[in-house]
Symmetry: C2
Subunit: 292 residues, 2 copies
Amino acid sequence: MLKELWQRRLALVEKALLEELREDDALNAKLSDAMKYSLMAGGKRLRPVLLMAAADAVGANGDDFVTTGAAIEMIHTYSLIHDDLPAMDNDDYRRGKLTNHKVYGDGIAILAGDGLLTLAFEVMLRQKNASAEKLTQVVKEMSIAAGPNGMVGGQAIDLLSEGKSISMEELKEMHMGKTGALFRAAIRSGAILGGANQKQLDALTLYAEKFGLAFQITDDILDVEGDERDLGKPIGSDAKNQKSTYVTLTSLEEAKKLAVQTVDEAVTALDDFGEEAEFLRELATYLIARNS
Amino acid sequence: MLKELWQRRLALVEKALLEELREDDALNAKLSDAMKYSLMAGGKRLRPVLLMAAADAVGANGDDFVTTGAAIEMIHTYSLIHDDLPAMDNDDYRRGKLTNHKVYGDGIAILAGDGLLTLAFEVMLRQKNASAEKLTQVVKEMSIAAGPNGMVGGQAIDLLSEGKSISMEELKEMHMGKTGALFRAAIRSGAILGGANQKQLDALTLYAEKFGLAFQITDDILDVEGDERDLGKPIGSDAKNQKSTYVTLTSLEEAKKLAVQTVDEAVTALDDFGEEAEFLRELATYLIARNS
């Protein structure tokens, strides 16, 4: 079920991204190209897929909310473009392709990121089958998750802690901001759009938090023992950049144990859901076995 | 009336900015400092003041919408921070103070801009006395105005046309994006929040477009014959950077004539409004005589 539904929805997301981007003729063609270059560079489309699966879990049809899925993918893509800049992580490659600023220059790359972030909020409001009340809730979830208390805050901690060793507590806070917050917003937004009640929303929020943590731990593990061809980026970059990770702060073995335990907790959070949450359960389990 | 109301509302805006920023404890203190540094660096707070005046013009009390005013000032401030970066205009000073990246470094400056833009959307939703329908309209106005078809698009044109001479048509499109769109969103958002009918909204939109154009023309004039102490930045920077402006594409005299004519058109757009639009009329007229 996992692979088929994921593939089918991945295609829906690609289509929605092209539609929502095309609808928006940027004032400048090079800016438009730069936005499209990174947005359509592939990827697992994990955040939109999570958003749609959360809507399924509360009895709606996730397909109906692909527009909001496209919006969150735009936020994710903007964060990658800015992350890769020389003033930040200074990466030349991403998913096996040159990074945005290597192709378009730093100035346009900054603007392409700014443009995608801003466009994302416009795209959220294009979501059909959603009341104004729900739309404002989604905008709130996304802006809090992506802002200084979330993704941007986590990125700042990451930037400022380069070459320093940080505690497990600080590492968790950084990742809760840098990647966890947007996973959480994806799942909560899907649940809200799908009509979740408070109990369902709480359970899915717990799932999201565990999912985000497990995702980060396996990311750290893959940076040690992943395959460069599968990942599309060099391994060992954390060690090279002297970054604290779940592996360096514990051990490879301990990190693997923690990942398994965290996935268990994610799955347990869904105990009150039936078949309609099966995708989310499978996805969490798949995390442990993924190679990219 | 102009000066008193402006001063009073400027104080309201400063207070709202501090409140909305403080409410948001960024994950990282340095990021928080960087955001505050640029946000509280003074300025005319023209966009919030326009927003509030547009609400007045349709019979509401502009004071009630200072929260949305604070949000648009955050968007404006983010654009200045990113504009000043070495990869963009590479400016060391802004309003007589070191620019954000000169104090905090390029990486944190990028994130401070990202943080303010994202926070702005959260702050819009904190606006009281506004239905969910109105809030979604405001988010839509702001995201379109600040996005690739508006401010970010204009900035891209600006960046890519450095050292090139551009046509009057291209110059207008660039400024409509770079500064005009956000003025337009300020006035339309204030009108929407204040309960404008369609005819009022159309008239205020026309005012906004003329206002934006007149603002840019006087900006270009000030870069030629302004006073560095009043402006808080060096004059002659357009000439130095070989930028096309309303002055270089016509003449100082022609640009002044065009400014007067455009302000006339802005004021005429308000013919059907009474006393409650007097501030907007005075503000447009003041534009011609401003020295900073």
